[in-house]
Amino acid sequence: MTGRRKLILAVALAGAVVSLGVGQHALDAMARVHAVQAPRFEVDPLWPKPLPNHWVLGNVIGVGVDANDHVFIVHRNDTFDARNEIGAAQNPPLSECCVPAPPVLEFDPAGNLVKAWGGPPADGKYVWPSSNHGIAVDNKNNIWIGGNGGGAGGAGGDSHILKFTHDGTFLMQIGQPGQPTNSNSTTHFGRVAKISFDYKANEAFVADGYGNRRVAVLDMNDGKIKRFWGAYGKPPSDSQLPPYEPGQPQPSFRNPVHCAEPSVDGLLYVCDRVNDRIQVFKENGEFVKEKIIKPATKGDGSVWDIAFSKDPQQKYIFLADGKNEKVYVMDRQSLEIITEFGDGGRQPGQWFAVHSIATDSKGNIYTTETYEGKRIQKFVYKGMASVNPDQGVVWPKR
């Protein structure tokens, strides 16, 4: 009996030690038993290169990659503390540092800043969103930007999409700006989170959004809304919802509908962020299936953004979870999580609110962070490997 008690105590102590992180080696050894095959990544702590002009990034809320693997980001360049963060932009300047960078930045694969543009136009030809959100590069190298700014009482917010050439020349404004939430509108949007494309059908898929609760499908050329749907493929409703509770049925999307990603095999993956789920549809809006991710997650939710692996079948989904500070590597067919990496923090490979995710042609992953994360990070693809189910921070080997 005493012996058994001692054993129990020892096990309890060991548990306590492990939970303190002191037993990390033991934990690693245990986990290796259950190692899985998955794409492996290492953070590049020195990418991108430091910005010129004492420029700093605000909330980085969109990332896209062009055909030449140039990486575009959009960030909110009004999300700074005036005194402590952008003293150089005050009048008179408080300090040498820092200055908000322009909203759209383009980096080459080496991490050099190639171009910076964006913001309200001098000629008033179009309306820059009050809170730009999401950036996508189409196959003609054009740049699409949404906006999630809300006006007073839901009216007058960002309800349009902007389209530019690769270097920031204005092309088109889609949807009337300044309109109130209306998930059944065919003339405007409701605070768009992200835009993606199906080039074969010449359609753009809009995660719509922070005001509306729908996926909207556009003609890529004229921007006309062709069709739209809500959760489970039903007509969307804007009626008031009770707060999210884990385990309750969720017949409606919640705000924000945060991504809508078409795959090579004609499926559409939608981020229902606050409901902690991915819903999968056919491109005509027919509901296929859903997957709940970490349903205990409240507040901002667990399903923030999706990118697919670059193999022809898009075998894997990389899912950014800005609440639990993880990227999940999922099997796209089964929607099971194979492994996860990352953690909370300000060091390389850690995140504060990992918001957006994209892959380049080599399979590298780029993540951006909103709130006070304010970074873009690159994770270099290292091929298929045997990895732990929870990899923690993926640093390069010394």
Binding site: H54, N59, L94, K298, D300, Q347
Partner: protein
């Protein structure tokens, strides 16, 4: 003509920034001073992740002990509850990440977290906003407080056992939450946000939502006014206090009793809290200290004081007699340029490292001449960049450690790479060579 016009235009655009960069006697590009300057490289993978899903808040004190262990103190309430510490919100998890690490953290040379302690306990009053951390020869840890109502300094054993607290309780009863209009160092550090994620705000319970600031009392023999740093003089059994965020003095206390033995203000004069003349770049030098953020004693007995908001270092003898002063980046307004000082680890302590949290740089000065040799860093969240670099310390090998407050929330290590030629007045981010140093 056209070309010339363009050139003039470009110069005019660059001028405001260039004028600031040229401050502090920094050499022009290519003008390498004889003897060079210490060189550093950031280690982007130091320290190691802490485990437990712990994160650092605004980090406000750093010191190295005799074993080259790195101690930091940070503000465990400098987080946005919903977005940053969901693991601990209201005792009910909002998500799996994250939770604040305890206030005091000890890292070994490998960057592993080996001990943690701090926070309120029986028999003492943990500061409202812990700031400054120093380790004496016995290995004891001294901690100040820069909050609106902090009047004390605390002393713990190196593993966190309470030893003593010095300084009397706040003189005035602390009123209910009011306007935090005080000019204290961390007032508004990570202030609460309106809409989540906007405004670059963290969440230290809201800007101005704390108690109103106590008045300065720079001539008190009983209490302190926001102690932000310490220097230890073991031989004389004295501790020098940078006092502080509200007070405008250096106070010297008996190491064992905490009794204030002497104190002085700028130029070694008696401080006068009624003289509130503010620093203005190009204007007359203030007769009082602004915010006193650090005090450091060199091996030769000189006492270096960070007069942060006045952009200057003042140097004294230990008895308080004024020796000399130097300005650093004197165009800096707001929080000022001189936040903390560390000495190089050569016997003569030939170099001063000045943490400048407003310009997000570390200035390297020749200690003798107080001329700036070079600087490194810039604003940003990547390795080697800073957001509000608050403190600096060196280990026995000459490596340099920096901490960042506000939303910087990091501890970074810069490996010492020997003395080298200075080619730039401002070196930017000190990344390992070829960008590959981290990769093998």
């Amino acid at each position: 003509m056209n070309r010339r016009f363009t050139l003039v235009g470009a110069l005019a655009l660059v001028a405001p920034l260039g004028a600031l960069s040229a401050q502090g006697g920094a050499p022009k590009k290519g003008a390498a001073p004889a003897g060079g300057a210490p060189r550093f490289e950031v280690d982007p993978m130091w320290p190691k992740p802490m485990g437990n899903r712990w994160i650092l808040g605004s980090t406000t004190g750093v010191a190295i002990d005799s074993r080259d262990h790195i101690f930091v103190v940070h503000l465990t309430d400098s987080f946005t509850q919903r977005t940053e510490i969901g693991l601990t919100v209201g005792g009910a998890a909002y998500g799996e990440c994250c939770a604040s690490a305890p206030n005091v953290l000890e890292f070994d040379q490998s960057g592993a977290l080996i001990a943690h302690w701090g926070g309120p306990g029986d028999g003492y009053n943990w500061p409202e906003a812990n700031a400054g951390l120093a380790i004496d020869d016995a290995g004891n840890v001294w901690i100040g407080g820069a909050g609106n109502i902090d009047t004390r300094i605390l002393k713990f054993s190196k593993d966190g056992k309470f030893i003593a607290q010095y300084g009397t309780a706040p003189a005035a009863p602390v009123a209910a939450a009011g306007r935090g209009a005080g000019d204290t160092a961390y007032a508004g550090v990570s202030p609460g946000r309106g809409a989540a994620g906007r405004g670059g705000r963290g969440g230290r319970g809201g800007r101005g939502s704390g108690p109103p600031p106590l008045p300065a009392n720079s001539n008190s023999m009983e209490s302190f006014g926001g102690a932000m740093g310490f220097a230890i003089d073991s031989k004389a059994n004295e501790v020098f206090v940078a006092d502080g965020s509200r007070n405008h003095r250096v106070a010297v206390v008996d190491m064992n009793t905490g009794a204030i033995k002497r104190y002085w203000g700028a130029y070694g004069a008696k401080p006068n809290d009624a003289d509130t003349a503010k620093y203005e770049p190009g204007g007359a030098a203030p007769k009082q200290f602004g915010q006193v953020r650090c005090v450091r004693i060199a091996n030769d007995g000189l006492v270096y004081v960070c007069d942060a908001t006045n952009d200057r270092i003042q140097i004294f003898k230990k008895d308080g007699s004024f020796v000399k002063e130097a300005t650093v980046a004197p165009q800096t307004r707001g929080s000022g340029s001189v936040w903390d000082i560390a000495f190089s680890r050569d016997a003569g302590q030939k170099y001063l490292y000045v943490a400048d949290g407003a310009n997000d740089k570390v200035h390297i000065l020749d200690r003798e001449s107080l001329k700036e040799l070079t600087a490194f860093g810039d604003g940003g969240r990547q390795p080697g960049l800073f957001y509000a670099v608050d403190g600096v310390a060196t280990d026995s090998k000459g490596n340099l450690y920096t901490i960042e407050t506000f939303e910087g929330k990091r501890l970074q290590k810069f490996n010492y790479k020997g003395i080298g030629a200075v080619t730039k007045a401002s070196q930017g981010a000190l990344w390992p060579a070829a960008g590959g140093g981290a990769k093998k």
